[in-house]
Symmetry: C2
Subunit: 218 residues, 2 copies
Amino acid sequence: MQVPVIQQIMKANDQVANENAKTFEQAGVRVVNVMASPGAGKTSLILEAIARLPAGMRPGVIEGDIASTIDADRIAAHDVPVVQINTGGNCHLDAPMIRTALDHLDLDALDVLFIENVGNLICPSNYRLGSHVNLLIASVPEGHDKPFKYPGMYANADLVALNKYDLAEVFAFDFEAFEHGVRMVNPTVPIFRVSARTGEGVDAWLSALLQQLALQPA
Amino acid sequence: MQVPVIQQIMKANDQVANENAKTFEQAGVRVVNVMASPGAGKTSLILEAIARLPAGMRPGVIEGDIASTIDADRIAAHDVPVVQINTGGNCHLDAPMIRTALDHLDLDALDVLFIENVGNLICPSNYRLGSHVNLLIASVPEGHDKPFKYPGMYANADLVALNKYDLAEVFAFDFEAFEHGVRMVNPTVPIFRVSARTGEGVDAWLSALLQQLALQPA
């Protein structure tokens, strides 16, 4: 009895995700769905990316959280258009939430939209939002075994940024083991080692992201 | 339409949680539900606790993960009875899963049972398992703002262990801000700063845990 209910929910979500995608297309906005564990550095990397966008490229952000406006406040402090979605208890954003948030954003004034999903390595991977790129931010302190434990999230990623890599030694992080885990479920996804704190690797990662978003010649 | 379904699920879960609690009572086993983000150090702190238990106190572990037996293998390597639950896509353990796992554990041979929940700061707080203590493991690299963002999890905690505290300076972790966030939703929960890596603070935390489990005089 439970499975048909879940399928209906997913079908309704997919329908709205397709509408969102059409809206983005018409407005000429490219969209990245940013997913990660709590505290992996989603907001920090979004801010790093925004600071390094090519001149004239106009960013916007949708912030998803269970509660609070901490992340949206951080973004707004940089004069970037931002909408906060508080999901209540929900462990992920869904397409209708994005639809509602779009009423509060002037898409014609944007070129690239970052959607920061709820901090979670499980639920967000099941809900399409209508975005162009699924960006998964992994983080060194989480440990290199996470791709084995959260295969759904890694399987759905178009791009992986492994953040806090400046601390790889402190945490005895085994990059080869991590890469092996990612490759088991996603043989081709590009993996970039970055640090939002030191800036290391951020340019190369952002360049790959913009290429995937078709915002820059390959 | 959705809310009644959710309530029914929760009611069924609570019923089985009560049966689990009765089973634990009859066997004289005290049970802790260990919850945290991915990579906060659940397995490491469980292993630290087990290594420091008073002589003669017999531990067991139930490991919950989306996939893999990595954590169960780590526990089993220490000759501790362990059962792995793979939840498939589910972002939390529930009482019926624990019920099933109990068929594979000899409760009469145990005094304390650690249930390691799925790595997630959202879903697990809504599902009672029949345990005696809700232990929340926070972790310095996640950042001090997490209590504001995941209030449900912090509100339900009986005990908070803040792990990786040896790296507080590296991450510019503001303990007062963290404590303030915890106190907003849970005014009385004890908070212990620990490091599974260096052993710092682990004895004091474990002593508080055993007191809450009524396994040691207060």
